[in-house]
């Protein structure tokens, strides 16, 4: 009879298996979800204390970020550079490095791509785009090589050096666009890039460009490198236990240098994407802190390239929704930065949830 159909039980088994895997996945993202909720909750407290209605503010934010096609386009536009910087942070983190210099690497990459993009106007478009993008990646990688050298040759801790190098990059690019590479006029910016180096726009009239697609492809590529290649294996082994890796015949220093360079290149490419896809020139101060957004997104994304994509969209939504929120409610845009920082603080404690459960049980 039908009840004895072996296929039926088999498919039930598979269902169970899928459910088990799915629930396992859900449990692993619970701390992240709780951290995000807690951050919005504390953000709401800040809003109330400063005389704003969190419900109004958050609804306006949500409306701005996802309310219409334009909002969604801007959310993805804002998410794009953050995907790059998050992948950058993630990649070095897997090697046990805490590279907080994505901001500087993004600026350097962006600047170099603007210079290359505004020169060589005679090149055909696809080649010009390719060269401009790669020069941005190379420049970011080169900037990332400096802390690698400082760490492996001199033992200087990357947290301090990458931070210092971010300040240096900010002033250096500011100098370059104020003096030698300044376009005529008052604004410190370079001349526009040639049309042949502009990345195609995906969703007019928003600024969403092909850079978003590149970001998605790179997320897959980073996942592939880390999971399936020897390079990825070496990098992760060096990060997990450098001593054991060294004994196992892995050149830990070489892994670190490569991780730094790739990390810098990813951030540099993000900067190039902003210049070639959104601004069409290097404008001083074009990044509102994408480097630090990346750090937060990598952590919220569970240090997983696919998680990064989702978390970046959330942070992009905060930025794009924040703009409408500021216009409509006069709440300072910096509430977004506060919420982001709170997410980081709550994510810093992965076992907070476990502690809370245990605490409640002890009280009961």
């Amino acid at each position: 009879m039908i009840d004895d159909n072996p296929d039926n039980t088999k498919s039930n088994k598979i269902d169970l298996e899928i459910m088990r895997k799915l629930s396992h996945r859900l449990i692993t993202i619970i701390p992240q979800l709780l951290a995000i909720m807690a951050a919005f909750l504390v953000g709401a407290v800040v809003l109330v204390l400063t005389g704003y209605s969190p419900i109004d503010v958050y609804t306006t934010m949500l409306q701005g970020a996802f309310g219409d096609i334009y909002g969604i386009g801007q959310t993805l536009t804002q998410a794009t550079p953050i995907i790059f910087t998050a992948l950058s942070f993630l990649f070095s983190y897997k090697c046990g490095l805490f590279n907080i210099g994505a901001e500087g690497q993004l600026l350097i990459g962006g600047f170099v791509s603007a210079v290359v993009g505004s020169s060589f106007g005679w090149l055909p478009a696809p080649i010009h785009i390719l060269i401009s993008l790669s020069s941005g990646a190379l420049a970011g990688g080169a900037w990332g090589y400096i802390p690698a050298l400082l760490k492996t040759k001199f033992g200087a801790h990357e947290v301090i050096t990458t931070m210092m190098l971010s300040y240096i990059a900010t002033y250096l690019t500011s100098y370059l666009v104020t003096y030698p590479f300044k376009a005529p006029g008052w604004v410190p910016q370079t001349v526009p890039i040639a049309e042949s180096s502009q990345l195609p726009r995906l969703l007019q009239p928003t600024q969403l460009s092909a850079s978003f697609l590149i970001a998605i492809v790179l997320a897959g590529l980073v996942y592939y490198i880390l999971q399936k290649t020897t390079l990825g294996y070496n990098i992760k082994a060096s990060g997990l236990n450098p001593l054991a890796a060294e004994n196992g015949g892995i050149d830990v220093k070489k892994s670190m240098v490569l991780a730094f360079i790739i990390s810098g290149a990813l951030a540099g490419l993000g900067g190039a994407g902003e210049i070639l896809g959104v601004h069409y020139r290097f404008i001083q101060g074009f990044s509102p802190g994408y480097g630090f957004d990346g750090l937060a997104v990598a952590l919220v994304g569970g240090l997983n390239p696919l998680g990064v994509l989702l978390a970046a969209i959330l942070f992009g939504a905060l930025r794009s929704g924040g703009m409408l929120m500021t216009r409509a409610t006069q709440v300072p845009l910096d509430i977004v930065v506060i919420i982001q920082s709170l997410v980081i603080l709550f994510v810093a404690v992965p076992n907070l949830v476990r502690y809370l459960i245990r605490w409640r049980r002890e009280k009961a």
Binding site: V46, T50, F98, I100, L150, K153, F154, G155, A156, H157, V159, I160, T161, M163, M164, L165, Y167, I168, Y171, L172, S174, Y175, T178, Y179, F292, L295, A296, L299, P332, D334, I335, V336, V337, I338, Q340, S341, L342, I344, L345, V347, A348, V349, P350, N351, L352, Y355
Partner: protein, 307 residues
């Protein structure tokens, strides 16, 4: 223009002024790292100290209440870092980074709420310069050290005090033991958790003081991101000084000199400002690369599990 315009007694007095916040924060860093907790959040704690000092001075018209506020806020942030990293064993660098970003966002947000400006606060009553009677009359030394705001002298006293505390008192020994060998300290009956909390909270207090010196000691207002990486420079000074208060003071004087020179060159406008502004950061990187090999941190910074 000649070299006298750049290097003179005024430059050295300015060096002392610029070294003060770095030294205060560096000693803060020592208190935290000696008990085995990395405090990357010094930068944010300084910024919150700078801001709360100005805010309280703005409302009360009393800069000393501002100083008090910065100490309280700094200590509270230290407590937050302690709870996250000691009790919950969270990642120390992630927690510190979170504090830094929080400070940047919170101070910018509140600036707009209170003064309607993201860039700078109103001018508020600030700390005044005092003359030290006998010291002031000594030639050259008196000109360099004799008249500063009281916090400069507080910094000098704190350097000496903490040097003695760490290396000549039982409490200092306990603090160091907890960072160097928590298991042994535990066996000897020292409360590891309590000592760690003390170290990290003091670290926050000193960072708050460092911040308020920037806003109420050097200026009379708060500006966006005014710490400008000095918390990280202080960490470099701490490492350069071998995790010792006196050593950190020496290193801070060096960074203070770079900062003072940077400001002097700025006022002479012989080079584009951006190039000059890069100087302190470049010097920090070079010094860090030059000396770090020879120093060893006082702890492995691992969370302590009683087992």
């Amino acid at each position: 223009m000649n070299i006298i315009d750049i290097i003179n007694i005024g430059l050295f007095a300015s060096t002392i002024r610029m070294a003060t916040p770095i030294a205060l924060a560096a000693i803060g860093g020592i208190f935290s790292e000696r008990v085995g907790i990395v405090n990357i959040g010094l930068e944010g704690m300084m910024l919150m100290g700078a801001f709360s000092g100005v805010a309280v001075s703005f409302y009360t018209r009393n800069p000393w209440l501002g100083v008090l506020a910065s100490i309280v806020i700094g200590g509270l942030l230290g407590l937050v870092h302690a709870i996250l990293t000691i009790t919950f064993k969270g990642d120390q660098i992630v927690s510190g980074t979170g504090i830094n970003i929080f400070a940047l966002g919170f101070t910018a947000y509140m600036s707009q709420i209170i003064w309607g400006s993201r860039g700078a606060s109103d001018i508020v009553p600030s700390l005044t310069v005092i003359d030290i009677p006998l010291l002031k009359d000594i030639p050259i030394i008196g000109d360099i050290l004799g008249s500063h705001t009281p916090l400069v002298y507080v910094m000098m006293l704190l350097v000496v005090f903490s040097q003695i505390l760490f290396f000549k008192t039982p409490l200092g020994l306990r603090l160091r033991a907890v960072g160097e060998h928590p298991a042994a300290a535990d066996t000897a009956g020292i409360s590891v958790t309590k000592m760690k909390y003390i170290g990290v909270i003091i670290s926050g207090i000193l960072a708050g003081l460092a911040g308020v010196f920037l806003s109420l000691g050097q200026l009379s207002l708060f500006t966006w991101g005014m710490t400008g990486g000095r918390g990280f420079i202080a960490l470099a000074a701490m490492i350069f000084g071998g995790w010792m208060p006196l050593g950190a003071l020496g290193a801070s004087l060096l960074f203070g000199f770079a900062d003072a020179l940077q400001m002097r060159l700025q006022s002479l406008s012989i080079l584009p400002s951006q190039i000059i502004l890069m100087l302190p950061y470049i010097i920090t990187v070079i010094i860090l690369a030059g000396v770090v090999r020879k120093t060893k941190p006082p702890s492995d910074y691992k969370p302590y599990d009683k087992g």
